[in-house]
Amino acid sequence: MATSTTPLVGLVKPFDKPLREVGSFFALSLDTFIQAARAPFFWRECLEQCWFICRVSTLPAVAQSIAFNGMVVFLFGVAAVSFGAGDTIGASSGLGTVSQIGPITTVFVLSGAAATAMCADLGARTIREEIDAMKVLGIDPVHRLVVPRVVALLITANLINGVVILAGLAADYMFAVYALNANPGAFASNLTLLTNFASVVVSFVKASLFGMLAGLIACYKGLTAGGGPQGVGNAVNETVVYTFMALLIANIIVSILTATTTLAT
């Protein structure tokens, strides 16, 4: 019996650890959703986390958005101007900012700045056994720590998305009008040519999804950190990589699913 299963075990072995990781991540996510519906919601913790995330990520969000948008619009605007269609810059910048550049900038900021700091905080508590102490006292760390953090990221992701879109459109306007000599009135009136209400809604749905995913991954990696300070470092590093991957893939999937409503020209 033992001899017959040995090769099979050897075959499954390399997939054992990643499968377990994925499984326990889903378990934590399910726990979080169930605990989120339970009665006391920790507003104070949630607000503190919101403030913390805003503090670390507003400046990079604005900087990245201005640079990204300014250059993209500049590039496409120059092409449009040489076709004699400089008036369409407004249309393209509205579409680009709301549907793609805004969410992608939000991804970078959320995973680079917010999720790392969150994971490092939770990881430090885990390796100092504060989480175990909470469990011993009968406090559920998922209910007390994870749910407020995920909700905070969900709220702030929407706020960051709004800031990113506003800063981006302002940068677009500056570049189009002052660098490319486009007509300001035409810019403003064409802004809504390719961008409809549906694409704004999709943009914020994407931001909420990104916030939730980033929060879950950061909390999972933080709570499963182990092996001293070095382990926290590794957990932070893996958080960044996994959130990048997950959020970019989520962005592509949502873009494809909603392409018919948002890209209808």
Partner: protein, 287 residues
């Protein structure tokens, strides 16, 4: 006398002195940072001659990754995925914009310009900061708070060449092959998005792509990526080297380092592209 006046000023204007001290602290920190960067860059030679083994180890760790990251292929694969997804956006956005003007065939132009000039430098710098940069900060920071760096100094190993210069050199050497891989990956992604998803002719796409792909742009953007990698590694090793305040302090240092390097790398890309390509964009679209 002078200490007496200082106490009087301190008690009379507490807020003024406090903000003055904060400013002085920030100013000193800037100087400290500059001194650290110069020291790190100068000791690269020492890192190669004395700690060659460590340099090679760091280089391998950066290129191929350790632990769970090695499982999915290391830094090269991660950055290929990041730049690939950004290139898909370039394809979608470029085609939609061009076809709204009725010139969908010219999407190859956007691939040649947006990918090379904008997307690759930005995404590679961000990706480096978030992966190997954050890893370096966390590692060196953990060494700092567990007093391993002091231990290194005690046993006669110079910590700046051993920890910081090796990593900066690693960043410098890992970027050229990385750039080549991500360049090919992103160009092919944009091409397949436009051709397979939007059913454009491959010949037209390739024609415009080859016409507008300037060799100078490719070289410049490769150099830009290399410079950014050095700057990102300098910032991240500095924040790790000066981390304090226990494990939570390391986390905070990682967050601050990522924020600083994202802002700096974006500013660099922005300024460089304005300097190199000018306000008119240096396009040769129409005469």
């Amino acid at each position: 006398m002078s200490s007496n006046t200082r106490t009087v000023v301190n008690t009379r204007f507490p807020r003024l002195t406090r903000s003055g001290r904060a400013w002085a602290g920030e100013w000193n920190r800037l100087g400290e940072q500059a001194a650290f960067y110069v020291k790190t860059l100068v000791s690269i030679r020492e890192a190669v001659t004395r700690y060659f083994g460590e340099t090679l180890r760091v280089l391998a760790e950066m290129g191929l990754g350790v632990g769970a990251l090695a499982l999915i292929g290391g830094e090269v694969v991660i950055l290929a995925v990041l730049t690939g997804s950004a290139a898909a956006v370039v394809g979608i956005f470029g085609y939609v914009q061009a076809s709204s003007l009725g010139v969908g065939a010219i999407a190859g132009f956007f691939s040649a310009y947006a990918n090379v000039r904008l997307q690759l430098p930005l995404i590679i710098a961000n990706g480096l900061a978030a992966t190997i940069g954050a890893g370096a900060t966390a590692q060196i920071g953990a060494m700092r708070i567990s007093e391993e760096i002091d231990a290194l100094e005690v046993i006669g190993i110079r910590s700046i060449p051993y920890l910081a210069s090796t990593r900066v050199l690693g960043g410098l050497l890992v970027v050229p092959p990385l750039y080549c891989a991500t360049f090919v990956g992103s160009v092919l992604t944009t091409r397949s998005v436009v051709i397979l998803a939007y059913h454009q002719g491959a010949g037209g796409f390739d024609h415009y792509f080859n016409t507008f792909l300037l060799p100078r742009d490719v070289i410049v953007s490769g150099l830009e990526c290399t410079v950014q990698a050095v700057i990102v590694m300098l910032i991240h090793t500095y924040y790790g080297y000066t981390a304090s305040g226990g494990p939570a302090g390391v986390g905070e240092a990682v967050g601050r380092a990522v924020r600083a390097s994202i802002v700096v790398s974006i500013t660099i890309t922005f300024v460089l592209s304005l300097v190199l390509y000018g306000k008119s964009g240096d396009f040769h679209l129409s005469s």
